[in-house]
């Protein structure tokens, strides 16, 4: 491929640079506009930090931030506790169930969140009867929403190691099933677990459909409500959430990169199309 790289024509280089610039403008202008819009004085000149101060001063916004962060934490924990042992167990003991588990995990892609909201009122009547009418009960629905993404991360991680051989080795040395799952398999699929967790956090911090239609005051819902009366504050909050999620996910690619490189060592990943 090196020969091709040196033969790369000037026209192609120009096209590439222009295209990348166009993409950069399309994706950056709205973000920069948010920064500008959230710091300018409406109907005047100069700058104000008031919308950003509102993020910590406005009581409704502040409590919704706490709610959303708690939701992100609870959803991630519940999702990992529910999904990881199940997926390992399927690989080890009930391979016959792998298609069923895959189907169920990917089903939320086919059944849109909006449809689940429409049908979930009876279930949530029971949930709020048993657990109270707290916004944190959204955790149950959010676990379903993050399932497809979490499933893919974990499935890829499990696919890159030989779970059965690992388990047999551990079992022949006297380990119980709990030890096999927690101390043998889990450390080996850690990159998959962290990426599932990061995606879950990002999704929960941005989720609007459930929160708005079930009337729970999470951060995205409150941002939406505020938008009608105070657009600059909503814009500031939106930008803050976007930056936070970006930092999380960018951190993930940098933290997980050594592990990933290892698991992808056998796969070609460059050069084919140059």
């Amino acid at each position: 491929m090196r020969a091709d790289a040196t033969r790369e024509s000037i026209a192609w280089r120009v096209v590439r640079v222009v295209a990348l610039l166009a993409f950069a403008v399309f994706f950056l202008v709205p973000l920069l506009s948010m920064a500008d819009f959230s710091t300018r004085v409406v109907g005047g000149t100069g700058r104000t930090a008031q919308p950003w101060e509102n993020l910590v001063q406005d009581p409704m916004l502040r409590s919704s931030i706490v709610t959303s962060l708690l939701l992100a934490l609870l959803t991630t924990v519940l999702m990992l506790v529910l999904l990881t042992p199940t997926m390992i167990w399927v690989r080890l003991r009930v391979p016959a169930a792998s298609r069923l588990v895959e189907f169920l995990c990917l089903l939320p892609l086919t059944v849109p969140p909006l449809v689940i909201v429409v049908g979930i009122s009876n279930v949530y009547a029971w949930v709020s009867y048993l657990l109270g009418n707290s916004p944190l009960t959204l955790t149950f629905a959010y676990v379903v929403l993050v399932l497809p993404y979490a499933y893919r991360s974990l499935d890829a991680a499990l696919g890159s190691i030989n779970v059965v051989t690992l388990a047999e080795a551990a079992r022949s040395l006297g380990a119980g099933w709990t030890t096999v799952i927690v101390r043998v398999v889990l450390p080996n699929i850690w990159p998959g677990v962290t990426s599932a967790a990061f995606v879950a956090v990002a999704l929960v911090l941005g989720e609007y459909t459930f929160a708005s239609l079930l009337n729970f005051e999470t951060l995205p819902y409150v941002i939406g409500l505020l938008g009608k009366s105070d657009a600059p504050t909503s814009t500031a909050a939106s930008l803050a959430v976007l930056v936070l999620a970006s930092l999380l996910l960018v951190a993930l690619t940098f933290v997980g990169r050594d592990n990933r490189r290892e698991s992808r060592r056998d796969k070609p990943s460059r050069g084919a199309l140059t």
Binding site: M1, F37, V101, V115, A202, G206, S238, V241, L242, S269
Partner: protein, 283 residues
């Protein structure tokens, strides 16, 4: 250790299965059953309501929005993915684009609605800049808050989604295939039309279908941008949910949600079939 029966390991799946039964299957079945229920037991009045002018027009709008944003997203996203894949996997550029795409694709909802209001809204940054410096009015009569605006805004998360979905397929194209083609005397054009093109086509079409389903089911951005009228299906569902009775019908939200399941279900089935075909070659 005692010999356990063949069914015993299935018990380990119980927590997972019960959870999904309660929080995924029960709601879905509720929608499907509810779509065929009237005030007194079984009825098809909700379903026939889907074929009346308003509902059909709304469905048409939703299809137009989903197809346009999927095609725009697929073409531009595939191109961006190609620009990315020609860089080494460890390069800062490639890692940044992948990470940013991950964020923007998942994170469409609320922030993006406000990003575009801040950019192209009546007092948006770009609107005001063009108005004061060139006397140009890009706000018009508020196209941002209608169907055309939604197509533009949806492209903002469709392009990154395409990058994420299509990148693995591009990465799966082996350098050896090109080397083999070149050794056999193929030109760049022949390599693309005879080797890489046919290999990537199922992946490309599959990804386009995924983008379509993604746009068809998207709710948050539209809910925040469109405050007047209910031009697309998700917003009609919102109206049916919050005002209890639309068009004088109970359970109409169930019928609309059922319509959504059918459309997305068909598209996602096709997607899965195409994906299976892709994964045969690109591992």
């Amino acid at each position: 250790m005692a010999r356990v029966s063949r069914l015993a390991p299935w018990a380990g799946l119980l927590p997972f299965l019960v959870y999904l039964l309660v929080f995924l299957l029960v709601p879905t079945v509720t929608v499907v059953v509810g779509a065929f229920q009237g005030g007194h037991g079984f009825s098809t009045e909700n379903i026939t309501g889907l074929f009346e002018a308003t509902a059909l027009h709304t469905l048409w709008n939703s299809l137009v929005l989903s197809v346009s944003s999927a095609v725009v997203g697929a073409v531009l996203g595939a191109f961006l993915a190609y620009l990315v894949v020609t860089r080494p996997p460890t390069s800062l550029f490639r890692r940044t684009v992948t990470a940013v795409s991950g964020v923007l694709a998942q994170f469409g909802g609320v922030p993006l609605a406000f990003a575009f209001i801040a950019t192209l809204g009546f007092s948006g940054v770009l609107t005001e800049a063009l108005r004061s410096s060139f006397g140009l009015d890009i706000f018009g009569s508020g196209w941002l808050f209608g169907l055309r605006g939604l197509i533009l805004v949806y492209s903002y998360f469709q392009i990154p989604l395409m990058v994420i979905v299509f990148l693995p397929a591009l990465e799966g194209v082996r350098p050896q295939w090109r080397e083999a083609a070149v050794n056999l005397g193929a030109s760049t054009w022949q390599y693309w039309t005879r080797v890489a093109g046919p290999l990537l086509l199922p992946a490309f079409l599959g990804a386009t279908l995924l983008l379509f389903a993604n746009a068809f089911a998207a709710y948050a951005t539209a809910a925040l941008l469109v405050t007047q009228g209910n031009p697309i299906v998700p917003l009609l569902i919102r109206a049916a949910l919050t005002s209890e009775v639309v068009l004088g019908r109970q359970n109409f939200a169930f019928a609309l949600a059922f319509e959504m399941i059918v459309v997305v279900g068909v598209v996602m089935t096709l997607y899965t079939l195409l994906l299976r075909r892709t994964s045969r070659w690109l591992r």
